[in-house]
Symmetry: C2
Subunit: 359 residues, 2 copies
């Protein structure tokens, strides 16, 4: 397949269009990673490393601080919305315009045009963000070469509508099982009903009051919810098992262990016979009090917002690097057929970052 | 396939063995229906009708009362337990020994050996009892030729361990749905959780106190149970629908409409957004106060028991014919690989019926 030429001298909007037209659905990022690597190796002020289809480039100026700018290069499956289309209002339409080739375009523009930043820079381009967590390229780099991701502060250029989103909440998924004894439903008293035994679990969930703690000035919002319930053997059998799957989204002032202990405590007296941790990813503190973050906030302006969903900032957080989301796309249109981005916002985002890194 | 010869001059135990060896899994009853029809047509005191693989024979002596003796001729799938085997203790092993070829043997023996009963007799042999209700041969006859089933009292020779089981409870299955609004579980407050909304339903079920009414001297035992619960969209989505399937087993002093009204009332204030009747079969009163039934009880002896599960006696009840279960098999072994019957009990059952019909 013929791919567009990445020309880093184009403005960020035009470069976004090239990146969108350069198809790179999850699992099919090699050609784009090759092209990005080639362009970055042509820049004398950067050293470039590659691991799989993940490309990491950095300046080595011996500055007091190092900042990481990161973005994933894959997209969700294309839905008849490539090649991109620029309309008369300066809106660029197509798969990945928001999530997140506009952010990748900003990364590439900063890499190409800021050879002497006031902070050392690390650019991370990674694959497979839109699929399972165990395929995530940033996770692979963090495991194989954590030193490549070292820094004082990281910005993920994920769509955040040009606002700074700090940290992220953790997510814990637990299976709560209740037990009973099977019997024919015509003689129910010979058995014991596991679905009825789940009544206290649902009552506890319905009555739960989530916390809304303020951390670094950001108000988080926890949530404890059943996301699935399953029980039943046949239409005439008293069921001997019922499983409630509960998802706890918790603010980053709780550690993973604290979150787990909290959920155990909430359901301690609800007749749970089995408690299985199905999935768990810790949160990330916003880290906005770090000097690099404070300078960043001053440069980009606006009021930071908390990030409720789990994002890759937590991977940086786990490496000891405070991180935020800040990107030109609008997350509302991510993964949609009518995905689009206002090109002026891409340029604005690039200017704000350049101002922060050169002032 | 070669089939055994049905010889109605054999004793009831030996005839049961022949019937067991005459394979007739549900849907494959034609050969057995043919053989039964042939044997009955050879008896001059009976008139015989056939509808599908259902055979109905009757005496026409102008007696004051008419009694129906009914049994199904199909079995569940054979599980390496045919041909039958008679052990040294007089126990006959094999598929259908209990449920209910021993009962069919008793019907055939009475048909062959009681040409001048004190009550007119109707013998019903029907197919497809062990499968879906809409295939049940007794149901087909009831619909096409209800006059064939007319009578003052009916005995189904289903396995009841030689005890009289009166009437049967009704069964009503209802789907109770709750609704919510989907949202990402990281922003649960943007949606509304349909599983949490089911909490009052489960609480009501867990607290429900079933009635145990005494009818015609028999103590029934109702039950209201969840037999299935389902809800959930994905591990990170607040679910917008949850369905609790409830099975109400009710005593035969309630009509179907009363049972339905009761269930509606129980869950009236539980946030149910949709109430769907999935399945409903009314109960049957034991009818033990009817003179024919009283004489029957006196002849067979023992203490009648209530029937908790739904059985074909309800089909007779719907036609205005009081009915009971009374058969030589032990229901505990029905549908099992080690199904068996004590041959002495078959003979005993035959003698009790003959005594009632000739005294």
């Amino acid at each position: 397949m013929d791919h567009p030429v990445l020309d880093l001298s184009l403005d960020a909007g035009a470069l976004t269009a090239r990146l969108v037209d350069f198809r790179s659905e999850s699992g099919d990022e090699k050609a784009l990673a090759d092209a990005i690597e080639r362009e970055l190796r042509a820049l004398a002020h950067l050293t470039v490393d590659r691991y799989g289809n993940n490309v990491v480039a950095r300046t080595n100026l011996g500055r007091a601080e190092r900042v990481v700018l990161a973005g994933h290069i894959d997209t969700v499956p294309i839905a008849d919305n490539v090649p991109s289309r620029l309309d008369e209002d300066g809106v660029l339409w197509g798969c990945g315009t928001s999530d997140m080739k506009s952010g990748v375009a900003v990364q590439l523009r900063i890499a190409a045009t800021v050879p002497e930043p006031n902070r050392d820079l690390t650019f991370v381009f990674y694959d497979n963000e839109e699929v399972a967590a165990d395929r995530n390229g940033l996770g692979h780099v963090a495991k194989a070469h954590p030193e490549w991701l070292a820094g004082d502060f990281a910005v993920l250029l994920e769509p955040s509508d040009g606002q700074v989103e700090g940290g992220c909440q953790g997510t814990l998924r637990v299976l709560l099982r209740t037990s009973g004894e099977r019997a024919h439903s015509a003689r129910a008293w010979m058995g014991s009903n596991a679905i009825h035994a789940a009544a206290p679990i649902l009552a506890r969930l319905a009555a739960y009051e989530p916390r809304r703690p303020v951390i670094d000035g950001l108000e988080y919002h926890e949530g404890l919810n059943a996301v699935r319930i399953e029980g039943g053997v046949a239409g005439n059998v008293i069921p001997d098992e019922c499983t409630v799957t509960v998802n706890f989204r918790y603010a980053p002032d709780r550690t993973g262990n604290e979150a787990l202990a909290h959920v155990r405590e909430v359901f301690a007296d609800c007749g749970v016979t089995e408690f299985v941790v199905d999935d768990h990813s810790g949160g990330a503190l916003p880290g906005l009090s770090h000097p690099a973050a404070a300078a960043f906030m001053e440069a980009v302006g606006g009021t930071p917002r908390p990030k409720f969903g789990w994002t890759d900032v937590a991977r940086f957080s786990a490496l000891g690097v405070p991180a935020v989301n800040y990107g030109p796309g609008d997350p509302i249109y991510a993964h949609k057929r009518d995905e689009h981005v206002v090109t002026e916002r891409i340029t604005h985002c690039e200017e704000r970052l350049r101002s922060w890194l050169t002032s």
